[in-house]
Symmetry: C2
Subunit: 337 residues, 2 copies
DNA sequence: GTGAAAGCGCTAACAA
DNA sequence: TTGTTAGCGCTTTCAC
């Protein structure tokens, strides 16, 4: 016989039903805003719910619906970078916004770049998750594996895999606009500290630089490659060695730009008087350093917010339209150029 | 009659049991590392688990155990600050570390400072959570309400409520050490940009400053109050007006210190030549700005990591010992003092 | 050491 | 429009 453990614990559907004088099913319908419930019943149930302070049990619901109410923001980076680069918290924040009205929890998951895609795919498929937003800019393997898993996933950053949803910055345009600004301001001997060429964003930003330089009839070959870290901005020293007459610099992100400025200063070059300089990301620190950095916007929270909207569509079985979103970047002029 | 939906979906305990030739209960015991299972059985079950790639269903488990496997990091701040101040992502990271070996998800929850404590307490009690780490520095109301709810909660930052677990920086000592460093370096006319006096940390840091000044026989009354924002660092201008001979400055956090430096520069004061300056937080940007900031450590990730350890104890019904942890702060000397 | 069986709180056919 | 009922996958007494 059913043993009723009517402990004075948290109220259940059963309790509400009893108090409202209806069946569990009816209460369930009210809670889930199902149609075909009489107006009067709804209010009666509603009152019972309020009175008891009833809240549906997530686990029980998940068990039967097979939806967990959890989505993940999966970041494929080293711990270190993730909590040192403001890009990530900002990105997480955007995802939070997208799911805030839904009763959905957004968890953060971390994966090391070297990790086997299978480990992450397994996490996705473990049934703990309804879907994921993936922040990764490390080659297409992961995206391919995830796409194959048929779980709802949206990438931030072009993974270069057909059929995969993604949101990305128009990196070529960003680099072009930045470089054109340098040219328009009178710089002619312009170099670039490029991003890592094993990342799409790094390649595209370099392409944009070359496009703009070529279009202006200037020499686009003054290049060094960085890895987006502040330290790699110091490689500007090599450019300076080879091209002491350097008067403009497009740096593929703000962190490297800040690193570059200090090296320029150590070499007696003033920014913007001797060398004019534009970065990318329009990060917080761009406005804090001296001289303040002219930079291209790269609003990570907006990217993930849009990715979140796409993910919601995907999770409800709707194919998002369009499947990929590429957002423009805007020039923010400050002191450095 | 029981309809077996043996869909080719994810494997269940049942599937594992069948394959291993044992009962569900036995598999459950193996999965949960319960004692009293024959060695041979364990290995057989283990093999079946591996073969099927079985993963326990969280929802089903939560339903029966009444544990959700979810803890929250509850941040009581405006959205804005939360994703602009590196303190928070770092803090979150620490919590992640504390729970990483457990199969526990760490979610972030946000609450606006003005919000009614009841809303947060209700969230705590909703049964969606096993416990929470609360980052709040806005008065004791919330802590009182939470303490009353008897849910496992650990605060980061002294909530000033008896019996509540918390981890905090030794703010008085931090301020004292910083001020003593200024004095030891030769500064005598020292002012402070204090933190907000409605926060414990703000009050304690001011107290520490006053203690050190008084102990050295110096005038501790050169004070303005900021709100920890970069903009409020500009209030150094007021100090400069009243005390043009200012030669030292203790600023209650780095953000304000950075704001102060730019105003000092605009007023023709060089750091550290004319005014020596120490901040608190030892933030990333402290090392990035020019001149680099001398600062007191305030390792938020360590705080939350320790808070996480305490929370684990609390959740397993053990009273953590000690109940409150106050961590020392260390001086990191850079260019500004 | 192991199995049988009950039941956690909920949703979703199906009946009425 | 509402109630009845059968499970979702798991843990946990209680027998054996």
């Amino acid at each position: 016989m059913p043993r009723i453990i009517s402990a004075p614990g948290v109220p259940t559907l059963e309790d509400v039903a009893k108090l409202a004088g209806v069946s569990r099913a009816t209460v369930s319908r009210v809670v889930n805003a199902a149609p075909l419930v009489a107006e009067a019943t709804v209010t009666a149930v509603q009152r019972a719910i309020d009175e008891l302070g009833y809240q549906p049990n997530r686990a029980a619901r998940a068990l039967v619906t097979r939806h967990t109410g959890v989505v993940a923001v999966l970041v494929v980076e080293t711990d270190d970078l993730v909590f040192r680069d403001p890009y990530f918290p900002q990105a997480y924040h955007g995802a939070l916004q997208a799911f805030q009205e839904l009763d959905t929890q957004v968890v953060r998951a971390m994966a090391r770049p070297g990790e086997k895609p299978t480990a992450m795919v397994r996490y996705l498929e473990s049934g703990h998750l309804d879907g994921a937003i993936v922040l990764s800019h490390h080659g297409p393997e992961l995206a391919q594996a995830m796409e194959a898993s048929r779980q709802p996933v949206v990438f931030v950053g072009n993974p270069e895999v057909d059929g995969v949803c993604f949101v990305d910055l128009d990196n070529r345009q960003a680099a072009r606009t930045a470089t054109e600004h340098l040219i328009a301001g009178g710089s002619r001997k312009i170099a670039t500290i490029a991003g890592p060429q094993d990342m799409v964003s790094g390649r595209h930003r370099l392409e944009g630089f070359v496009q703009a330089m070529t279009a202006a009839g200037l020499d686009p070959t003054w290049q060094v490659e960085g890895d987006y870290s502040g330290a790699s901005g110091h490689r500007v020293a090599e450019l300076l060695d080879k091209h002491p007459d350097l008067d403009g610099l497009f740096v593929a992100n703000d962190l490297m730009a800040i690193g570059a400025i200090s090296v320029l200063r150590d070499n007696g070059r003033l920014v913007p008087d001797d060398v004019r300089l534009v970065g990318v990301d329009n990060s917080e620190s761009a406005a804090q350093v001296s001289p303040q950095l002219t930079s291209m916007t790269n609003s990570s929270d907006e990217h993930t917010r849009i990715a979140g909207e796409m993910l919601k569509k995907l999770m409800s079985g709707v194919r998002p339209e369009p499947l990929t979103v590429v957002l423009p970047s805007e020039l923010v002029i400050r002191e450095s150029a």
